[in-house]
């Protein structure tokens, strides 16, 4: 069957595409300007000097290279936070989908309830709790809350119900495989697209997390990129102002590069995941 074409739909999508790309283009152009050119040339024209490379160099070395430290922190939070959250969600989601036990419905209700609570609303209570535990201003203040991903759990649960046939598990049991072995050799493979999706959401979520580290951390050495860049941006105000918008912009550009790479790498798994079950078998 030939796909039908809709000029209207194409037009709408084109508008969305432009809407998405315009800020990126602006960011790219602005990252090539010096601070002087930034405040003296219009947003869409190039500056007098092409300063992309010197901007990158300065971003990486400003204040003893704290930017690199922030990159490292963000990676650490992503690996521990998003990785841990995905592992937990996978194990728990599979268990809830494939085993019958008491309180399963209660877990389901609790899960739906916690999806409804936005993370921002939990930030302040979490701060007070962590403060009394002496965990504020440590990496655990960022990693531990990131480990909890109700949405990821829900996704794996639903996905496992659909993608892992009960018959397959029973066949494996008859062949004498233990539950752990079934999970690691059979289920995990079938769950891969779901896991990648959860991982991707987790990575993006932790990478962009701003509010939680903002209130939890007061030590710049622990900041992730989001909070660090915002601090640079705010440095332009008041007594002893140090406007370094060129570094903020270049830093922002550098910040989205790893995310783009992650998207391209994981995209094919993700796509196959979304279309799984979409055809009649």
């Amino acid at each position: 069957m030939k796909p039908r074409k809709s000029p209207l739909l194409t037009g709408v999508m084109a508008i969305f595409l432009i809407y998405t790309l315009v800020p990126l283009v602006w960011l790219l152009i602005s990252a090539t300007k010096t601070q002087d050119d930034l405040v003296s040339t219009a947003g869409w024209e190039l500056g007098d000097t092409f300063a992309l490379f010197s901007n990158v160099r300065e971003t990486l070395t400003y204040r003893d290279g704290i930017f690199l430290r922030w990159v490292g922190n963000t990676l650490l939070y992503v690996v521990l936070g998003a990785g841990g959250a995905t592992a937990l969600a996978t194990a728990a989601g599979y268990g809830l989908a494939k085993y019958r036990f008491r309180g399963r419905r209660a877990v389901f209700a609790l899960l739906l309830g916690s999806i409804a609570v936005p993370g921002t609303a939990l930030a302040v209570p979490t701060f007070l709790m962590f403060s009394s535990m002496g965990l504020t201003n440590t990496i655990w203040a960022i990693v531990v809350p990131s480990l909890v991903s109700p949405f990821g759990l829900y996704l794996i649960w639903i996905y496992a119900t659909e993608a892992v046939p009960q018959e397959l598990l029973e066949a494996a049991r008859i062949d004498g495989a233990g539950e752990i072995r079934i999970f690691t050799t059979v289920a995990l493979r079938l769950l891969a697209p779901g896991i990648v999706t959860v991982l991707l959401f987790g990575v993006v979520g932790v990478w962009n997390n701003y509010f939680l580290p903002l209130i939890m951390l007061s030590e710049p050495d622990l900041y992730p990129l989001t909070v660090g860049l915002s601090q640079w941006s705010k440095q332009a105000a008041g007594v002893g102002a140090d406007p370094i918008y060129n570094l903020v912009i270049t830093g922002s550009l550098l910040t989205i590069v790893p995310l783009i790479i992650v998207f391209f790498l994981l995209q094919r798994y993700w796509q196959s995941g979304l279309t799984a079950g979409g055809v009649k078998q």
């Binding site: 405040v39 003296s40 504020t136 007061s218 105000a237 007594v239 002893g240 102002a241 140090d242 918008y245």
Partner: protein
């Protein structure tokens, strides 16, 4: 470079006594709050011996600031190798105060020394979160600072900080733009208004200044106009944002606003910086530290700007007001308040000031601001005008008796929701100020203050 040996000789003489003193100091420090026991009534005049002893004993303190204080900390540690200062930039403005407040509430994690802007001093000083520096004899430093910044470093009787980068207001103007359109430097606010009209008429892309509603700016302008909308006496507070001085300011600013003569960009945005370079913002009635900021904008502002005294409302004697400006304070939570005070003394009363000037800051101590080398310093952005000579005069003209609310950071945070609406709709600022006042009275009552709503 100015070298101060004011304490040097005494400190030297003290060395032998230090062993005993530091032992007792360590005990006192371990006792925590005991070290600040004489705060309050009768604790007015202490001596600096404890501070000198703490310097010899050494230790570690944490300093929260958003200024680039790295060089200062390095120099201090070089001079006192026993002392380690941990420099932390915990954020700027609101973020910084929220974090301070959080650590105070949580009971741990607060720094020993923190930068606190003048407007926020009562918020931390009034509930007793800051060490009264009179117990270390710092009250004696009074004559070394401009009266205005010294007064504002007190909360009630207590001396809660040493000032750094005070900000008496002056009128910064773009000379090139003024010359091009034949505008004379306004001496009164009426002339300022006339200049605004003339400029915008001649070139609609040019504005006399930019303002979309900024609490710090508005309160300073009210201060300059003679308004004293907030008075605080212990738990008793009066809020009156319709007093004579406030009305004087709104009478001028309302006209600028309703006639569309204010450039609609918020202070400190890149658009605003752009306006300072390309001439679309022709003047800034701002704190004198703005001189260093403009000079730091690079070669494109060379020879563009000049400074004049603030316009007046009656054409009489010049009047200024504080705009911005900070103090460094010692927190009660500090485990070693004497050492923290020692760092503070060095930072804002001794050699720390020299490095602050080098970084483009306007220092607080008169010894620095009246140093001939400083007064004669020429600034490229100002066509080599000796702007510090003018600032030296303006700091003497700051109106007395101004007070901030003990919840000024909250007050400033809701300025946009109230007065900001007047800016947005180009409607009467007095209506916005009334809304601000109502919200402030309401909030103050809920905080347990006795409030007279003017």
């Amino acid at each position: 470079m100015i070298f101060r040996r004011r304490y040097g000789s005494r400190r030297f003489a003290l060395v032998t006594a230090v062993a005993v003193a530091s032992a007792s100091l360590v005990l006192a420090a371990c006792g925590g709050p005991a070290g600040t026991a004489d705060n309050g009534q009768g604790g007015g005049q202490g001596s600096q011996e404890a501070v000198d002893a703490a310097l010899q004993a050494g230790g570690t303190i944490t300093y929260w600031t958003w200024t680039d204080a790295k060089k200062q900390v390095e120099a201090f540690q070089k001079k006192y190798p026993n002392v380690k200062v941990k420099l932390v930039n915990a954020g700027t403005g609101d973020e910084h105060y929220t974090k301070l407040q959080n650590t105070i509430k949580a009971g741990s994690g607060a720094p020993d020394v923190a930068q606190i802007e003048f407007f926020a001093l009562p918020q931390f000083g009034l509930p007793g979160h800051l060490v009264d520096l009179r117990q270390y004899g710092f009250e004696a430093f009074g004559p070394d600072y401009a009266q205005s910044s010294w007064a504002i470093s007190h909360v009630g009787e207590s001396l809660v900080g040493l000032p750094q980068g005070p900000g008496p207001m002056a009128l910064f103007y773009n000379k090139k733009v003024f010359d091009k359109y034949g505008i004379a430097v306004p001496k009164t606010w009426d002339e300022y208004l006339a200049a605004a009209r003339k400029l915008h008429q001649a070139d609609p892309t040019k504005y006399i200044t930019a303002d979309v509603g900024d609490a710090g700016f508005a309160t300073s302008m009210i201060w300059q106009a003679g308004g004293r909308p907030f008075t605080v006496d212990g738990k008793k507070i009066t809020v009156n944002l319709a007093d004579e001085g406030t009305l004087k300011w709104t009478s001028v600013w309302n006209q600028l606003l309703s006639e569309g003569l204010l450039q609609p960009s918020a202070h400190w945005t890149d658009e605003w910086f752009k306006g300072l370079v390309d001439g679309s913002i022709a003047t800034l009635p701002f704190g004198n530290w703005m001189g260093g900021v403009i000079d730091g904008l690079g070669p494109k502002v060379k020879d563009l700007w000049r400074v004049a005294p603030m316009p007046t409302y009656d054409g009489g004697k010049p009047v200024s007001a504080e705009h911005g400006g900070s103090a460094q304070a010692v927190l009660k939570q500090s485990q070693n308040p004497a050492l923290a005070a020692a760092f503070l003394r060095w930072l804002n009363h001794e050699d720390g000031n020299d490095l602050y000037i080098e970084a483009g800051g306007y220092p607080s101590s008169l010894e620095e601001t009246r140093d001939p080398a400083f007064l004669d310093k020429a600034y490229a952005a100002f066509g080599d005008q000796k702007i510090n000579r003018l600032f030296d005069v303006t700091s003497d003209t700051v109106g007395e008796g101004w007070q901030f609310l003990p919840y000024q950071t909250y007050a400033n945070s809701i300025f946009g929701d109230t007065v900001g609406q007047s800016y947005k709709n180009k409607s009467d600022l007095n209506a916005g100020l009334k809304a601000w006042q109502d919200a402030l009275v309401d909030y103050g009552k809920r905080q347990g203050f006795e409030i007279d709503g003017g």
